[in-house]
């Protein structure tokens, strides 16, 4: 009787093991999205969240080896609150983080993640400090110096302006980072900078002095390394002064057309460096834009595309690294770091590879706003 029981038990155990093996076929990745879904930068946080949700939905519906469980937390674009959000997602069992969306909070969070061994892939936080001296943080977007230098190169090669003015936010790492590399590159390419003025985040309403300085210096191109909120005030002030230079922005300018009540004619002719525009005819982009419109009733901005790519990149890296559902965040971190440097991914925002610094390599492109939509230059 005992023998029979033992036999039955043994069989049951074997079956259980078999079942366990069968279940391991699908791997559930718990990915946390952290970004400002409320507050002054909510447009970006919502865009990355929606992009990530869309990618996760696609992957789950396709029913392949991987399932995505997305855990979303709000950081309000605040370097203190982001740590609360970070702790919350780890408590909720997140294995890796797609985020955070904006630079300042991301610096705080990825530094904490470096200590705790948490893997970060940020779709859009572009300052160098996000990845500097931290092996755990990678970017989908360009780093700021890359954007500044690329802007200067683009302006020089397309002869967009001879006298350049810069207005930047001196209390924001994103803005100062781009400005520094732009100035360095401009000197190399002997572009003449005739006016350079700044403002701070707390005081971003009155730009009469900055615009007048550029105008009086005779600048024919104004470089605006900043987010779209102050930029729209600058465009407004320039229009009131009847000053019409070429305005050249970077990825933070993306979203300016989405501001409710904004007179889009003010942005006519504004150029910006961005790896993604919704009007592209690329097959992948068209499909993404269609699905995005269906789900959220608006056109995706670059941040949404970055996050959409981000989820697919995480899955690809997870496959390479052999991540399983049971692994904790600190077990996931090092294999993911190694895998990121081996993979290459071709997404909505171009073909991307990564080196150990965590910075991405891809080709920048410039778009111009014509009749209220972005149009790619060659």
């Amino acid at each position: 009787m005992k023998k029979l029981l033992a036999l039955v038990l043994a069989m049951v155990m074997t079956l259980t093991v078999c079942a366990a093996v069968a279940e391991e076929e699908t791997v559930t990745l718990k990915i946390a999205h952290i970004g400002p879904t409320t507050g002054p930068a909510a447009l970006y946080g919502l865009a990355t969240l929606h992009g990530a949700e869309l990618a996760a939905k696609e992957i789950n519906e396709a029913g392949g080896k991987y399932r995505i469980e997305l855990i979303a937390e709000d950081d309000e674009h605040n370097p203190e609150k982001v740590i609360n959000a970070y702790n919350k997602v780890l408590d909720d069992g997140a294995q890796m983080i797609l985020g955070t969306t904006t630079s300042k909070p991301c610096e705080a969070a990825s530094a904490q993640g470096y200590v705790d061994r948490v893997f970060f892939l940020t779709p859009s936080a572009s300052s160098t400090a996000v990845i500097e001296d931290k092996d755990n943080a990678f970017q989908v977007c360009f780093t700021d110096p890359n954007q500044g230098a690329a802007s200067a190169e683009y302006i020089a090669s397309h002869k967009l302006g001879t006298k350049i003015a810069i207005i930047y936010n001196d209390s924001d790492v994103y803005s100062t980072g781009i400005r520094d590399s732009f100035v360095a590159k401009a000197a190399e390419l002997s572009l003449e900078i005739v006016s350079e003025t700044s403002f701070s985040t707390d005081d971003n309403a009155d730009f009469t002095v900055q615009v007048a300085d550029a105008q009086n210096a005779g600048a024919d191109l104004v470089f605006l390394p900043m987010y779209y909120t102050p930029a729209s005030n600058i465009l407004n002030t320039a229009a009131a002064k009847n000053y019409k230079p070429v305005f050249f922005g970077v990825d933070g300018m993306d979203g300016i057309l989405g501001v409710e009540g904004f007179d889009t004619s003010l942005a006519e002719g504004v150029m910006l460096l961005t790896p993604f525009v919704a009007t592209s005819e690329d097959e992948k982009v068209v499909s993404f834009v269609t699905k995005y419109r269906e789900a959220y009733n608006e056109d995706p901005i670059q941040f949404a595309a970055d996050a959409y790519d981000g989820i697919y990149i995480l899955v690809e890296a997870a496959e390479k690294a052999g991540i399983t559902s049971e692994m904790k965040f600190d077990e996931v971190c090092d294999p993911m770091i190694a895998a990121m440097q081996e993979i290459s991914y071709e997404g909505l925002t171009g073909a991307m590879t990564w080196d150990e610094s965590g910075a991405v390599t891809k080709t920048p492109m410039a778009a111009t706003i014509i009749n209220g939509i972005y149009v790619f230059e060659d």
């Binding site: 507050g39 701070s200 005081d203 009469t208 009131a240 002064k241 009540g261 904004f262």
Partner: protein
């Protein structure tokens, strides 16, 4: 010279907005002896109401502005009645904290109602023409802002010196207890003060957003703090003081940015404030009040 004039006009325009906001602070302080830190957020509410009127309901600009004034007036009276009146006998610190709480409440309500995405205030209202004087360009927004400031200042001065309610306000300001003994309804007088201050806030909100069109729930905070500074600068409690303080603050800010450093604009403003307060602790036009023991 042109650049100097240009900066001066920009400074006057910015200063006029500070001055209108500062009038609200100074009236409430002078009469109710409290700092209404929610004043900046009433400006924001006023701007949002006008925005809705212009953008969603296609109202004529003047109607949208009147609507904003009515809503803000009601809001001001409600806030005073619900949050400040029950604390009339409490310490001034309790009222101050309540005002800060009210400020956050308004910001978060605005966040719930209008969302976090910034809106761009339609410029159709007062950006109708631009004056060209040689190389100098003056927008209509600038002219109207400066003009509105002067009109409001004169009207308020006449109101407080000539009308019965105005006189009652000055009495309450001087000695609340004695005013009550003389048959003045103190609560009603304070309510009216809040109503006027809030209506002015709505005007300030519309003017502020016409010149600087980005509108978000935190739009009122920084101008509110600057205007409070202006009120202290000019001598808090004094109506001409608020006007002078506001204009000077705007001009100093613009000149500081233009001739010293754009990065130090705010630092210069507050440095000037500290120097003025060291030399004249009651502000430029403030009257020294002797404390009786």
């Amino acid at each position: 010279m042109m650049i100097f004039l240009d900066n001066l006009i920009n400074g006057l325009s910015l200063g006029s907005i500070y001055a209108i906001i500062a009038l609200g602070y100074t009236m409430v302080y002078g009469i109710a002896k409290m700092l209404n830190f929610a004043h900046g957020d009433i400006i924001m509410v006023g701007a949002y109401i006008a925005f809705c009127g212009l953008q969603y309901w296609n109202l004529p600009p003047v109607v949208a502005m009147l609507m904003a004034m009515v809503v803000c007036t009601l809001l001001g009276i409600t806030i005073e009645g619900l949050a400040y009146r029950p604390l009339r006998q409490a310490t001034s610190l309790a009222v101050l904290i309540t005002a800060i709480g009210m400020s956050y409440l308004l910001q978060n309500l605005a966040l719930m109602i209008w969302g976090a995405n910034p809106k761009s205030f339609p410029g159709t209202f007062i950006n109708s023409f631009t004056l060209h004087l040689g190389r100098l360009t003056i927008s209509s927004a600038t002219l109207i802002t400066i003009l509105a400031n002067v009109v409001i200042m004169i009207a308020l001065t006449l109101f407080t010196s000539r009308t019965k309610i105005g006189k009652a306000m000055r009495c309450v300001s001087e000695d609340r207890g004695a005013a009550q003994l003389m048959g003045i309804n103190v609560n009603r007088t304070i309510s009216i003060t809040f109503a006027i201050g809030s209506a002015l806030a709505a005007v300030a909100g519309v003017l502020l957003c016409s010149s600087y069109p980005i509108l978000q729930p935190t739009t009122g905070s920084m101008p509110g703090i600057k205007a409070f500074t202006a009120a202290v600068f000019g001598g808090i409690g004094s109506i001409p003081g608020a006007m002078l303080g506001g204009i000077l603050l705007g001009v100093i800010e613009i000149f500081g940015k233009a001739y010293i450093s754009t990065a130090l604009g705010d630092a210069i403003v507050f440095a000037v404030l500290i120097i003025v307060l060291l030399v004249k602790p009651t502000g430029l036009l403030g009257k020294p009040v002797r404390e009786k023991v």
